[in-house]
């Protein structure tokens, strides 16, 4: 396989492939490097198309010494044309929705966790763990169960009940930490030093993050081996956003697709917008914030890849915007009403930003835009409470007619 080593994104120091995630020289994040010099684009494309119906079809571009496997293989989620969504927000563009809620545990986190758990097994770990805002917790608990590994899942104790229930069911050690996600993350960074566990988003983070590239690869494949002109993606730590960019770039560099890097628009909630703020202010660091938003899956106040997300948005001529909690609720409804896709609050953030870009006239006529929906609405049901009214009637025709008299009168 093509995987080569780990390399610091800051000072370029190189390290062997192991369970390490930051540079001992400068504390910069480590990233997996590959040697694709012997890759033949035509042959690689053939291998992909003959591959599995999930992310392992992209094994040539993932960080394994051997062929990875996983009984809960995620990926090849639907990419749907969303003309009525485009029309509702006044866009004369080709809008596509990548519905990544259609994964085994209903979020894009299945991709990164499948890669991290397979890597944990390759490295000989028997316990996996994570610091999570919820979706990752679901995925780690499920993939650990499927692989027969022990797991420890750390979340803020005040998480949405649906996400806690959908994690505990897998028989994991679910740990609710009294604090916010950044507190959970700090604790896990410390635990990773003292426990021989594979923390998927701490000591295995360089591998884990690679899983997000598969969303870019699928997009290209599903668009008939072409690139979108623009993508709109949520930003929490900034890892998904930057790895989408890396995925597109790898295939551009290797000749698997022609064109140029899409324009990248990032989406954050106003109540947790350290990356959007850094973009607006022109900073090359993100000032940490204390999150206060209904979009809990994006509530990372100290985003590890924030600076790289800002750089990527700038480099591609895009931007990073934020939306209010009310705009999030309304965007969840907008997506549901126009596409039949019910997304969680993070998807509301993303669609809310799409609507904002449309209102500002930033999306040109005919542009091909892909919107990444990363999670499932059933996990954040509270966000839809009181956004509609149920008609309650007696089981009689009179009661129905009385309730719907107004409708009939105007019919």
């Amino acid at each position: 396989m093509a995987v080569e080593n780990l390399k610091c994104k800051e000072c370029k120091a190189e390290y062997e492939l192991g369970a390490s995630y930051f540079c001992e020289q400068c504390f910069g994040p480590l990233e997996v490097t590959y040697d694709h010099s012997r890759l033949d684009a035509v042959e690689a494309k053939r291998r992909i198309q003959a591959g599995s119906q999930g992310i392992w079809r992209y094994a040539d571009f993932l960080p394994f010494a051997g062929r990875p496997g996983d009984p809960l293989e995620p990926g090849l989620t639907p990419l749907l044309r969303a003309d009525r969504l485009a029309e509702r927000i006044g866009l004369d563009a080709e809008v596509w929705v990548k519905n990544d809620a259609a994964n085994p545990t209903h979020s894009f986190k299945d991709r990164v966790v499948a890669v991290a758990v397979a890597k944990a097994q390759e490295l000989g770990f028997d316990t996996v763990a994570c610091a999570s805002t919820g979706n990752l917790a679901n995925a780690v608990a499920a993939h650990a169960a499927a692989a027969g590994l022990d797991s420890y899942v750390f979340v803020p104790a005040n998480l949405e009940e649906q996400k806690l229930l959908a994690t505990g069911v897998y028989g994991t050690n679910l740990v609710g930490v009294r604090g916010n996600y950044d507190d959970v993350n700090r604790l896990c960074t410390q635990l990773a030093e003292t426990h021989p566990w594979a923390f998927v988003n701490v000591n295995l983070r360089p591998y884990y993050a690679e899983g997000s590239k598969t969303l870019a690869y699928e997009t290209v494949e599903q668009l008939g081996w072409t690139l979108p002109d623009r993508v709109v993606s949520p930003i929490a730590s900034g890892s998904l956003f930057t790895k989408l960019g890396r995925g597109f770039q790898e295939w551009l560099d290797l000749g698997l697709v022609a064109g140029e890097q899409p324009t990248f628009n990032g989406a954050q909630a106003e109540g947790c917008s350290p990356v959007a703020t850094a973009f607006a202010e022109g900073w090359d660091i993100c000032k940490p914030q204390r999150p206060d938003t209904i979009a809990k899956s994006l509530a990372i106040g100290d985003p590890a890849d924030g600076p790289y997300a800002v750089e990527h948005a700038r480099r591609t001529g895009g931007g990073i915007d934020s939306v209010s909690d009310d705009e999030i609720r309304s965007a969840i409804k907008l997506l549901a009403e126009t596409t039949g896709i019910f997304t969680e609050t993070a998807g509301g953030v993303t669609v809310g930003v799409l609507r904002k870009l449309a209102e500002r006239g930033e999306i040109a006529s005919g542009e091909k835009v892909v919107v990444y929906i990363t999670g499932e609405g059933l996990k954040t049901l509270d966000a839809t409470r009181d956004t509609f009214r149920m008609h309650e009637i007696d089981p009689t025709l009179d009661s129905f007619d009385a309730e719907f008299a107004a409708v009939e009168a105007t019919a």
Binding site: E24, F27, G238, P288, I300, D302
Partner: protein, 90 residues
Amino acid sequence: MSVTVKIPTQLRAATGGQSEVEVSGGTVGEALDAVFDAHSELRERITEDGTLRRFVNVYVSGEDIRFQQGLDTQVNEGDEVTILPAVAGG
């Protein structure tokens, strides 16, 4: 003030294997300077031009110093100063 500075595993080669260093200082900056005086190799790894590198987080008794006064954050007798990489999570 006498404070304890916790050193991440990956940097312990620079402290002769010590996981924590006892130093004195009135602020986080002074405490870290005292650590660097004793273990000079750490200065370059953790700071750049007198400020913390952008992927280094420092906490005083669990609180991120960026929510306080940064390197000027006061430390009290017995406080624990923790240095951690900022590249986890998400």
